[in-house]
Amino acid sequence: MNSQSGMSRAQVAVLYLILTTSIASGIAIYSSASTVTALLKTATTGLFLPLLLSLIVSFLLDPAVQFFEGKKINRTLSIFIVYALMSSLIFLLLLIVGPPNWEGMINALKADFPRYISRAIEWLSSLLAVAQQHFPFITNYDLTERLRSASQSFFGLILMETPRSAIKIGSLLLLVPLFSFFFLRDSRHIMRSLISLTPNRYFEMVLDIYAHVSWQLSHFIRGRILEALIIGIVVWLGLSLTDIRYAPILAVIAGATNLVPYIGPLIGMIPGLVIALVDLGMGGQFWWILCVYILIAQIILDNFILIPILISKVSNLHPLWVILAIIMGGKLYGVMGMIIGVPIASIVNIIFIEIHQYRRTFNLYNRYFTNRGKLL
């Protein structure tokens, strides 16, 4: 038997052992790999937002840190100085203005929200009645009922999410300063060691492109945040001239939605207009509020002053991409994703444009290939 198979008993045993161990270890590696990825997934959930926010914060604070660094203070110390300055500034602002009564405002809004929604639905259904006169087939779709149920479920979601988001905000207040401290201190070092991994032949190119992209990005992010801040402040000031309630919350909404071009400002003004319509009626104040939202904040301030000064033309996205980014962001991260989707798309856009520009001006093909097409 041994001579027929050409193998001794010991050899067969060894072969069997090897085969079984390899199969077993293969299964073990496969299953552990899937559990590892699952573990990684659960470990990293919820880290995206704090990381993104701390990146933005570090981009915002970087010029201030550089200012102190220029005064021959080492970087770590200057970061601490900037942190101390920022926290004292916020503290001072709170002392002067007095903390806006967020909690009371949100509770009042909770009470008022159904009222606003029902009024908006009433108004919409009156509009629908007019539409039904002209297009009778609309009666088949019970739009008002659908809207009512949607708004109720949305309201329930807000009620449920409030305590959870409070915990989230608490963790953000802890994590973001910590992360941004390390980003501020070590980002240069991290990027340098990453860039030094590139092969010699492409090193100069990668270094140049990195310098361009990081310059554009820092300007873009700083510009966008400053723009949102200024718009929010202006809306706040404009709304506080009227009797409208919830001016601070409306200003925050206006500022945050302003991060999304084209569509954001339109959506950001809806709550303000609804509240104005319900509480103040279609009077002079309503028209003033509309004027603040559209004419002052959007047309004069944003279009003529802020965008030309703060944001370079490079980062303009085509409206189609804006809509796609909003939809995809919404699918991934909900409302938050809708707001940050467009800035992230613009960042990707900036990177592509910079690389393209670099390729065109520096003619990479000629740079790395000879006339005969041989790779140098």
Partner: protein, 176 residues
């Protein structure tokens, strides 16, 4: 003294550091220790193998290199691909310093002839340094300026000499 057992590094410890190497470069000669430390943080150490192209003639340059160890050949290539050697640079030499101030095409190609360690100083880092640490950056720029002016001076002297030779030759020809 047995070199296997005795500490041969004791005396030359400082001389092996990157800081010391940088302080021997003509453009960085006048920097103090603090500024040298700063410079050490913005240069890149790159390792090259044998016969590796550092850059090609006509590339848009983005910085200068100095040779820490090894050898670099500077050459031009004509239409037919024929190479003419311009210089053979050794450890301690530097090249490509014009690209540091302006993004102009390289006027020659550079290639290593043996395993080489190059210290690169690039324009983007220099620009960032100017923004973040203006004083040492200005000193480095001045040192660079000095080197380039020296080269310019040498070239103008040579040009003067050549012009004189040319006029002498023309005179001779007219006399004959």
């Amino acid at each position: 003294m047995n070199p296997f057992w005795s500490n041969i590094f004791r005396s030359s410890g400082y001389k092996q550091t990157l800081t010391y190497f940088l302080s021997t470069m003509p453009m960085f000669k006048k920097l103090d220790d603090r500024e040298l430390g700063f410079l050490e943080n913005i240069v890149h150490v790159r390792n090259y193998g044998t016969d590796e192209i550092v850059f090609n003639e006509g590339d848009i340059g983005s910085g200068m290199y100095s040779i820490r160890s090894g050898q670099v050949q500077i050459f031009n290539r004509d239409e037919q691909g024929q190479e003419t050697e311009q210089a053979m640079l050794e450890a301690g030499d530097f090249f490509g310093e014009i690209a540091l101030t302006a993004s102009r095409p390289r006027c020659a190609s550079a290639r290593t002839t043996e395993p080489t360690v190059l210290i690169g100083l690039f324009r983007s880092d220099m620009l960032e340094a100017v923004r973040r640490h203006p004083a040492p950056a200005a000193k480095i720029m001045l040192g660079l300026n000095r080197v380039i002016s020296d080269r310019l001076l040498q070239i103008s002297v040579q040009l003067e000499k050549l012009k004189k030779q040319l006029t002498d030759n023309q005179k001779k020809q007219t006399d004959e």
